[in-house]
Subunit: 292 residues, 2 copies
């Protein structure tokens, strides 16, 4: 299987990265590093930033918009924009793309994107949603890292892969594999439900912890606080779009957090230290199943 | 000032570490490293563990209980036990100690300890509470680190330092300074109120985040989740004692977290993305005031 499919990914001649920030820049860096014969074209709004990314060795070319010429022949378009912009761009790109173009994305939510893309005939034919679970608090291609995706899980939304769609789904898996990812197939809804628990709620909890501690007390924080709240420094606009794009699951996750936090409060109020120990031991046991 | 006081700390001839776990072991390691002429006596329950700590170079001697002989002449006793055991041990130690013994501790709560110690005449005369804000999820002297306290804040509870008590408070400050700490003077109540926000609540929030995510979804977590929940792996018994030892402040901190989390839920439910952005931006701005 592996021998059969590797040449596929290696045969990509051009990767178009739409949005050259931390994720887009890292996709570009990884492609440059791992598929050295492949063109990497960056698409963005700001010419100076794009030229700087090219000067940094991330891009072999750039433009402020995709063109039909750029999207003719075999190429992969990776849309690395804030989640609320992805579907619109996928649809626009699909309208200009030839039939052997694959469009994928790196958005942290999947259902709203896949649903909006699927309403559009050309886009639904060329698009396979993905989410490499990798990132950082600091945006911008300056923090791009060719190894950002190394050994990270990438969720691929295969959908009900009809035989016509199967090669495209395979191609998507192998593209992300070539950047270093381990592939996990999920439906968009399943992805969003799980990521609400493993990423979106943790972000909110870190934000709440930070806000409640306040700036006056930062000198009395240790490494535990720094670790626990690091993600809260992430770009607020990007995260607003992510939360809004996964509203129902995030609200449900908050509800579960509220219940669990209330369990702790009640145990403390009732001086039920046995229950408090039980709650903390359950969490510690769960956390120890994960590497530090 | 510095020239006047350094010889004081350097003139300590013996440090008795009661409880040779991560913190006690690190106190021992730091003393061995920074005050090489000083004896370091470890006190613990398990002879094999104490001998192993001595074999590891942390201790120059050990015993399963303190003795009057050990506590005669100038020495510092550092009580590094779980917080609910500290006051009792301080009182027992004070009964055996000569007048030039300093007793300090490393407990994460201060008011319950200082109050209990102050009810005891001999103990209140010899004890100055402290809290070096340093630690780790993994207990045991095997994880001891001579540099654990390097550049970390150590809160010293000077109390209403009467002229008779001042030398003892000075000596405490300089002892912890010699282990690498930066000293911050606070009252016990102020310490507990602030640490509820900067340490105890963050631990609970990380525990809640971990529990809500559950073990089934760990493969879909990234580095953000790992960082945000790392502290939740800490010893549940130690943390139960800490929360119970700072009950009122922790309950108040949970209340504030519940309110803030509800703000996020309401913003999401009301589709008020402007408010959501405002909340996330406030948290991000606050967190960015702290180094990563």
């Amino acid at each position: 299987m592996r021998g059969m499919v590797e040449p596929q990914a290696k045969s990509e001649k051009r990767v178009v990265v739409v949005g050259v920030g931390l994720i887009g820049g890292s996709v570009a860096a990884a492609v440059r590093h791992r598929l050295p014969d492949c063109q990497v074209v960056g698409i963005g709004r700001c010419e100076q930033r794009l030229q700087a990314a090219a000067d940094a060795g991330l891009l072999t070319g750039w433009a402020t918009d995709v063109t039909s010429e750029m999207l003719s022949g075999r190429c992969v378009v990776v849309v690395c924009l804030p989640v609320h912009l992805i579907a619109t761009h996928v649809r626009r790109i699909a309208e200009k793309a030839s039939d052997d173009v694959l469009i994928t994305d790196a958005g942290s939510v999947k259902a709203v994107i896949c649903d909006a893309v699927n309403e559009h005939e050309a886009a639904s034919r060329l698009f396979v949603g993905a989410h490499p679970i990798a990132g950082g608090e600091q945006g911008g291609f300056e923090h791009a890292d060719a190894d950002l995706f190394h050994d990270k899980v990438c969720v691929v939304v295969a959908g009900d892969a009809t035989s016509a769609r199967k090669p495209l789904v395979h191609r998507t898996r192998h593209f992300w594999q070539h950047l270093g990812c381990r592939i996990v197939d999920m439906t968009a809804d399943e992805h969003d439900r799980v990521l609400a628990l493993t990423s979106h709620l943790p972000h909110l909890m870190a934000a709440v912890t930070t806000t409640v501690a306040g700036t006056d007390n930062l000198s009395l924080t240790g490494s535990g606080f720094r670790d626990a709240t690091r993600i809260a420094a992430g770009d607020a606009e990007l995260w607003t779009a992510i939360m809004a794009g996964n509203r129902a699951s995030v609200i449900a996750a908050i509800g579960r957090a509220e219940e669990t936090l209330a369990d702790y409060r009640k145990a403390l109020e009732q001086q039920n230290d046995e229950r408090l120990l039980e709650l903390l031991a359950t969490a510690a046991e769960c956390r120890r199943k994960l590497s530090s």
